[in-house]
Symmetry: C2
Subunit: 339 residues, 2 copies
């Protein structure tokens, strides 16, 4: 291989993101400068937040620029290193973009360059032990603060983040109910991930089912969806409930503003709180989370699903899978095996 | 006087509350039992939250029942006492309802029976030193936690609660901008209450004006209004902003659910919090608030407006004034002078 394949952002999306927002091109393999590392991407992470990065607006990270390779988390292998801490062949995690090769200057900005711990494979590093798992861990525990015996409701519950958040709540002694799309996902939640209940938003009355499955009301709502799901959940919050705003995937591809919940006064009546967070603020506390998560995986208390697509040519349509609900757990794409 | 005049809830409101929701009747003056006190109401308090009490739904207090006198805060005078702590002629605050006389059992439930401190007149007791002022004080300080140099935005800013919240923020060293309806209220905010800026939502582009008047963005938004005002404010929140949900008067008289803000994701991007509260949770900390508020009034740092209507027959239409914006500051109605 002597070219650096890329998928660049060709056109900002209006409505549902799709392959026509991206353009394929081949460029020369970049050369690392002093103190820099050349990484060959092996696995790409797909995350709903990428949809926001494609918009030309202020956010927690600058927008991806047109004609630049699309930004994405990745695990790769050091191909060439001008940095004393990194050696050729080592597996590393970074923000590698949709391309074969990326030049990274370690310790310069987020998320830098992190070596995979021993025994952690690329798939695990990009899912439960990566940003996804950290998001579930810190969002639930720091903002949600679930107490044993409380009821925790999770939307997008079969997704990469939601499924981990719900299981952590179960590990912490909570009653856990998940909302997901379709009978397969719901069966996975109750049968495999051991949620106490699951609601299929595609075929059930979410509001009524929350009432049935959460007889003591909802103490923590971990929301990945927003819109009507958030409104339904707010009808069932308990006194001093915590609504953890992790994401709002229901509106990410909307062409017009999607109205928010009409029942925010329920926050007043119930002295409840709704709070947002971005996981980059927790990177300095990554070790504690990774340690707990790894322990729960090893003890069998925490399971996860990775949905691994393959082939560089399939990158754009793999992103769309997140927004059509096709993904089963964490969406990844494998570009190549380690050499 | 040998009858107890009452305005009862005759019909639950649909849409704007008005006199036809109430019915006038005359009943015998009730007799206090053992340990009870008969209070003659002199002043009634009018509060937006009363609109919620008229709905037949679960809330932080039970709904007012049909054919019962409408619930309201009041200051009255002890007319007859079978309780050792209260003497005939003393001025007291209670939930007296829309009637001349109420029987209260002190220390039984909220808000009990509180004597007016020396030097505090009925008007002050029902405004800055009453539930209204406490709401502003604890909502702003406990939930909003404003720091010197931060920017505090207040909606319903010329109202009884908003005007106090904004002035407390100014006293705490914040830049304070208020949103109110009409040039008179806005002039009062900047000229009398010494807000740093005022926005007339009836004639100005609220979103644009917040941007102009809050160049460092909004750290605390004290919201009494909800709806489009809340959405506009969320466009300008700062990192780690606190949105204090005090009320949502814009939707209280709506006949259909009013959509919430379409931009709740701004809470995520800015790691911001939106939280509701009910002042009854703070009654045990009333003394601290009253002490501070009284001090600021005496030093001239805190001013207030009381809008005092008169006449028992005008009670129902006085409530409507709150929702049409006719009130100037705290809405009260005087039934009678102390004897």
């Amino acid at each position: 291989m002597n070219t650096n394949r890329q998928w660049t952002l060709a056109k900002r999306p209006f409505g549902m993101v799709g392959p026509d927002n991206f353009e394929y091109r081949e460029t020369p393999i970049p050369t690392p400068g002093d103190g820099e590392v050349l990484v060959r991407n092996l696995y790409l992470s797909f995350d709903p937040t990428q949809r926001g990065w494609m918009e030309d607006r202020e956010s927690y990270m600058p927008p991806v620029q047109l004609d630049e390779p699309m930004r994405a988390g990745s695990v790769g292998q050091v191909a060439e290193s001008n940095h004393p801490d990194f050696n050729t062949g080592e597996l590393v995690q970074t923000l590698g973009n949709w391309q074969d090769f990326v030049v990274v200057k370690p310790a310069q900005g987020l998320p830098g360059l992190t070596k995979l711990p021993p025994g952690v494979d690329p798939e695990l590093m990009l899912s439960v032990l990566g940003t996804t798992g950290l998001t579930a861990y810190w969002g639930l525990l720091d903002l949600g603060n679930p107490q044993s015996g409380e009821t925790v409701l999770v939307s997008g519950a079969a997704g990469a983040t939601g499924s981990v958040a719900g299981q952590i709540a179960r590990i912490k002694g909570c009653r856990v109910v998940g909302i997901a799309g379709g009978p397969d996902k719901c069966a996975w939640l109750t049968d495999e991930a051991r949620f106490d209940g699951a609601i299929d938003y595609k075929s059930e009355d979410v509001d009524a089912r929350i009432g049935e499955l959460c007889p003591n009301r909802v103490d923590v709502f971990f929301d990945n969806v927003g819109g009507g799901i958030l409104e339904a959940a707010l009808n069932h919050i308990n006194m001093r409930a915590r609504v953890v705003l992790c994401g709002g995937i229901s509106s990410y591809n909307a062409t017009e503003p999607v109205p928010g919940p009409a029942n925010l006064m329920n926050l007043v009546i119930n002295r409840a709180r709704m709070e947002g967070f971005i996981i980059i603020d927790y990177f300095d506390r990554m070790a504690q989370a990774a340690n707990d998560l790894m322990g729960w995986i090893q003890s069998g208390e925490l399971i996860y699903q990775n949905d691994i697509q393959e082939g560089f040519e399939n990158i754009p349509q793999t992103l769309t899978r997140l927004f059509t609900g096709q993904n089963r757990g964490k969406q990844l794409l494998k570009i190549a095996d380690p050499s």
